[in-house]
């Protein structure tokens, strides 16, 4: 009996949580199918006159179309996530498993590079990028986002690696594994949930970042978030259009998420059967 009441309460909390998490999205998608007039109607309606006009406009008529910018965002995101994980995981492993002089200070310095607000460094980075010919290039944006993500990866993975007892690895190495093998076969699988979470977060930063993208890109490397703001013309916010381009920009990330979810769950179950 008590168990049932408990479960019911939990169910209610979860349901409320789910509703809160999802209703803005539902509204976003619904509005993307509304005419501009309906999107500002009082009281708000669910969807009286569905139309595809908004999607047609953002894909075909508005300048080069949102798909081009999404392609840019995809390339930049893939590049920066790969590079950040490569650099960050290596460093995190070293910090966790090796004691050496100054490791604490160095780790802290790495973290500190993420502490400064973009305002302080945007102008010098703009000048530096221009000087290095990285302005308005995909590579330039990849490097910027890697710069933002590497400290995050180092610190996140440090935390996850620290949770894995040294002894497991050492036992494997005593059995004849090289350090690299031990890493691949033991550390990585055990830290997989953390790795997935970290990678996902890097992806999100690269896909969704706005301010640096605004100032460091022109027509060649402009990313999706910046392109979405073209629905805000100086006269009016075309809500329907904005929701359409936003929904399109959301889809790849949601798909990625759905795919990653499977591995995420697998990683968690693997963790449960350990030991």
């Amino acid at each position: 009996m008590k168990r049932n009441i408990e479960n019911a309460m939990i169910g209610v909390i979860l349901a409320v949580g789910l509703f809160m998490a999802l209703f803005p999205y539902v509204w976003l998608i619904l509005t993307s199918f509304k005419t501009d007039a309906e999107s500002i109607s009082i009281p708000p309606t669910i969807l009286a006159h569905p139309t595809l006009a908004n999607y047609e406009y953002v894909i075909f008529q508005e300048g080069v179309g949102i798909l081009f910018y999404m392609k840019n965002s995809a390339i930049i995101a893939a590049g920066s996530v790969a590079l950040s994980l490569l650099l960050g995981v290596s460093a995190a492993y070293a910090f966790t498993r090796f004691r050496f002089r100054g490791s604490g200070g160095l780790a802290f310095w790495i973290l500190s590079t993420r502490m400064g607000p973009p305002m302080g460094i945007i102008v010098p980075i703009f000048l530096l990028w221009k000087f290095l010919d990285l302005y308005d290039t995909l590579l330039g944006m990849i490097l910027v986002y890697t710069m933002i993500n590497v400290p995050f990866v180092v610190w996140m993975m440090k935390g996850y690696f620290q949770e894995i007892p040294k002894e497991i690895e050492e036992a494997a190495m005593a059995d004849g594994c090289s350090r690299l093998m031990a890493f691949r076969k033991i550390m990585l699988p055990l830290a997989l949930p953390g790795l997935v979470a970290t990678g996902v977060f890097c992806l999100l930063v690269s896909w969704n970042e706005f301010f640096f993208a605004l100032l460091l890109t022109g027509t060649v490397a402009r990313t999706a978030p910046v392109a979405i703001t073209s629905s805000i013309s100086t006269e009016i916010v075309r809500w329907g259009e904005m929701c359409a381009s936003s929904t399109l920009v959301l889809i790849p990330v949601l798909v990625c998420f759905a795919y990653v979810q499977k591995h995420f769950v697998r990683g968690l179950t693997l963790g449960a059967v350990r030991g």
Binding site: I13, L14, L18, A21, W27, T31, S39, I40, P43, L87, G88, S90, A91, A94, F98, F100, A107, S112, T113, M115, G116, P117, P118, M119, G120, I121, I122, V123, P124, I125, L143, T146, M147, V150, M156, K158, G159, Y160, E163, A174, S178, R179, P193, G194, A197, F201, W207, N208, F210, V237, W239, M242, S246, L250, F257, Q261, L268, G271, A272, R274
Partner: protein, 299 residues
């Protein structure tokens, strides 16, 4: 027997150097530039004033600048409220979803959805939702009886336009967006807890609360610290939402230190002063993170 190979110390360096070199190459110039500029009088909009060293004058000016002090307080309020709420909600849902039940995978996945979108889009979306005339939130409140008919139809309940509620409204958006992040990190942490201690505790007859406080929570420490650290740093610097939802208004009611720095840099074009504010922000974050780390004796 361990196979002889490169010494551990060398291996450590080899693994760390790429990350460090990368960061050094790309960040040293900008950060140094920014710090140096904070000691200059440099107003790019008034080249005729000249660029010259003024020592700590920018910093001293900050202390008597009411907009800066207000911004600092608002930043701290925003960060404190948002991060605490996100942590507690994230922990709650992580615990609830760490037990097995049918459909758990899907529910978990759905919970993560708010995290994936663009802050700029969220700013616009929530502006639409908060709109006192055609926004959905007021309509829901009105339907639930929490808003009177006159309040609804008069458009008086303006969340973003009210100095008392503007910042809170933005904070709510941040909580909505980032609780899934905390949830993700803490869930990963919970699932990494080895099962033996948990089973042993059950066998010993420990209550759920005792298990939680003596086993789960301590084991979550590293994940807690990291997530709190990262979120604090990020919330402190939050910009996009404020930029697109209120522009720091009404008046300066939702203007955080970071937004003020933007205003100084891009509207007043006073780079020296903006750099000083930015540097002060970095120092604030530095202090906060040190506090976290000392607290858990890590790092």
């Amino acid at each position: 027997m361990r196979m002889p190979s490169i010494s551990d110390k060398h291996l450590a360096y080899i693994l760390i150097i790429p990350a460090v070199a990368f960061l050094v190459a790309l960040t040293v110039f900008p950060f140094a530039f920014s710090v140096v500029v904070s000691f200059l009088n440099w107003n790019i909009g008034h080249p005729e004033y000249g660029i010259y060293l003024v020592g700590v004058k920018n910093y001293v000016d900050m202390l008597s600048d009411y907009r800066f002090l207000g911004g600092l307080i608002r930043s701290l309020f925003y960060t404190g409220t948002a991060v605490s709420a996100e942590y507690f909600l994230g922990l709650l849902f992580a615990l609830l979803l760490s037990r097995e039940f049918r459909g758990r995978g899907i529910v978990r996945a759905l919970f993560l959805v708010p995290m994936v979108g663009t802050p700029i889009v969220y700013g616009l979306l929530w502006r639409m939702l908060y709109n006192p005339d055609f926004g959905l939130i007021n309509y829901i409140l009105y339907s639930l009886g929490l808003l009177s008919s006159s309040q609804f139809y008069s458009g008086h309940a303006d969340w973003l336009g009210n100095p008392t509620f503007a910042l809170l409204s933005i904070i709510i958006v941040d909580i909505w967006q980032w609780t899934p992040f905390m949830f993700l990190i803490l869930l990963a942490g919970i699932s990494s807890i080895p099962t033996e201690p948990l089973e042993a505790a059950k066998v010993d007859g420990a209550s759920a609360w005792q298990t939680f406080t003596h086993i789960t929570l301590p084991a979550l420490m590293p994940a807690t610290v990291v997530s709190l650290l990262i979120r604090t740093m990020d919330v402190f610097k939050d910009f996009d939402k404020i930029y697109i939802m209120t522009g720091g208004g009404p008046g300066v009611a939702s203007e955080t230190m970071n937004y003020y720095a933007y205003d100084v840099a891009f509207n007043y074009m006073n780079l020296g002063y903006a750099a000083a504010i930015a540097f002060t922000m970095s120092v604030c974050v530095l202090i906060l993170s040190n506090v976290y780390l000392r607290f858990t004796r890590m790092g």
